[in-house]
Amino acid sequence: MIGIFASILDGILVGAVYGLAAMGLTLIWGVMNVINLSHGAIIVLGMFVVYFLTELTGISPYLGIPTGMIVGFIAGLIIYWVSVNRVIGRPILMSLLATFALNMIIIGLATAAWTTSPYNVPVALPGISVGNYTFTGTHIMAAIIAVVIAGLLYLFLHFTRPGKAIRAVASNRDAAELNGIPTRQTLSMAFGLGVALACISGALISTLFPFTVLSGEAYQLKSFVVTVLGGLGNPAGALLGGIALGIVEGLATPFTPVSWIPIIEFGLFVATLIAFPRGIFAFTRP
């Protein structure tokens, strides 16, 4: 019995991090109707930022997170002005391909630089043991940071001027423009923010699991699932979606072989898309 609780709790901890990973994807989608297929590559970028920072300076990986955010934000701005700006408002295929092209470029460059061999960020935090089960310190820490960052994002979107501008542009771009909001700048900021979030989640994931240049794809797929559960375009929903996914996985694990989990995951994904295209937790729009 305690095994099931341990499994669910573990699911929630990891789910919160997946929620954070999906938040950037869903924010960008909500604001500019673009599915960012370079999301996975950006997550990997975040991982390598932390890796090299800890390798070179020896500081705690958690201090690498702010750096990851800055790198991500700048990368986001560059990506936006290089490719996304021109495809906003064009058929969905164009934005999918434009961001996918960037994905190929980033992954290609990263592969040339760092190969596809696995990397590790060594972190040790004391865990909490309950009976025979141990919740590792890194998981707990990552979940806490994910929730804090989700909270900060909420505050930013609702209580600061640029945050409100992002929400205004998301809900009605023309009206926002008429009210004097510089929409292109706002869009680029939102994109930068979305990419920064992806980068942060990559930074967090690097403290949990080993990674390669190609790890991004798996996390990107996971982000899709979370995004759809939480409602496309809904950052608050993403955290809930992530945790919900964690609970589903945690619940299923003790009863099915672990290799069956992806079937449940993607089956749920397709079913949700067809039954609730707006997502299960779609109460609010940003």
């Binding site: 109707n33 021109r86 969905i92 295929l93 434009a98 992954i107 460059l109 040339a112 797929l221 898309l273």
Partner: protein, 347 residues
């Protein structure tokens, strides 16, 4: 994509006196384009044999598979305007059904491949009725989900070898006259599938059904208002677009001698097919062919070149980005715009 929206929609909506199949075919035989397709296919089939060049055969085989994938994908993306991101699932499932039947039940590979194609088409129709209710990005995501879910299922499906996949014994090639003959046979069959794909693509483009599909691609709601039974037609074209890729999958994996989930349901190949389509020009018949050949050549060159092998992905990405940003009509779109005579000769 080549004519204005209102024009296509209007054509789809008006009722012309119905022509019989025979008459329709007789009309097309007088057109130059189907002959071009036939000649092209024949040259592809004979070139490696005449030149006695096995490595040419291997390159052409891969190119033919790409042409098949891109051309059939074109039916969905170029004609119907639905971005089928997980299109590789047809190829993979067809491959599994074909290889399984050929190894476990000793069915002749041609029959096994056809069976794979039919199963995939039927499944696609059923699934299509569900996921084609979604539009735009939602549909694209759903197709990715379907591909991943089916891959996850196959990984756990022991009769198909689970994650290990199915290995062919060399004996499987014996009824076809040994491995060498089997390789040639598979080559001819795949080239034939490529030719059929092109004829299918051309045939649909020229048919009334094709007009209706393109009307859906331009403006689905308008098409529905004008009397196109959109849910049914979309599911039909989805189902058709799965048939030949599935057949090609069965032949390809039979030829490879192994099928396993990661290579059968590789999302990257799916996206590569889209890249080829965009490179050549979506919505045209010739575009996917040019795109597929160019892409295969480029990729082959980059992979084996000392300097670029690590930058293969980067260059492909830059190319794709440039196309999307500056030449969204692809090479064919560009040529057709600049050179009017191209429009008459190449569809």
């Amino acid at each position: 994509m080549t004519t204005s929206i209102s024009h296509d929609v209007a054509k789809a909506g008006t009722f012309k006196p119905r022509k019989g199949w025979g008459e329709e075919i007789a009309l097309q035989v007088r057109q130059p384009f189907p002959w071009l397709i036939a000649i092209f296919t024949l040259i592809c089939a004979l070139a490696p044999y005449v030149l006695d060049d096995v490595s040419l055969r291997e390159s052409l085989l891969l190119a033919a598979v790409y042409v098949t994938l891109a051309t059939n994908l074109n039916l969905m993306i170029g004609y119907a305007g639905y971005v089928n991101f997980g299109n590789i699932v047809f190829f993979g499932v067809g491959g599994y059904i074909g290889v399984y039947m050929a190894t476990a039940w000793h069915v002749h590979i041609v029959l096994a491949a056809l069976a794979g194609g039919i199963c995939v088409s039927v499944l696609a129709y059923v699934f299509g009725r569900g996921i084609l209710r979604l539009r735009g990005a939602f549909f694209a995501l759903a197709t990715i989900g379907v591909n991943e879910a089916i891959q996850a299922f196959v990984v756990n499906f022991e009769p198909w070898g689970g994650a290990t996949g199915i290995y062919l014994s060399m004996d499987a090639y014996e009824p076809l006259g040994g491995p060498m003959n089997a390789l040639w046979l598979c080559y001819y069959l795949i080239i034939a599938v490529m030719g059929l794909s092109l004829l299918l693509s051309y045939g649909i483009k020229k048919s009334k059904f094709g007009l209706a599909i393109m009307a859906i691609g331009q403006n689905e709601d308008a098409a529905a208002v004008l009397g196109v039974p959109t849910p049914k037609y979309k599911a039909i074209v989805y189902s058709i677009s799965g048939f030949l890729p599935a057949v090609a999958g069965a032949l390809y994996f039979f030829k490879s001698g192994i099928i396993e989930p990661t290579s059968a349901f590789d999302l990257t190949t799916s996206i590569e097919a889209i890249v080829m389509l965009m490179l050549g020009g979506a919505g045209t018949v010739t575009g996917p062919v040019i795109g597929a050949f160019l892409y295969e050549e480029l990729r082959g060159y980059l992979l084996f070149s000392e300097t670029f092998s690590h930058l293969q992905l980067v260059l492909a990405g830059v190319l794709l980005l440039l196309i999307v940003l500056f030449v969204p009509g692809g090479l064919m779109g560009f040529l057709r715009q600049r050179l009017p005579f191209v429009r008459r000769w190449l569809q």
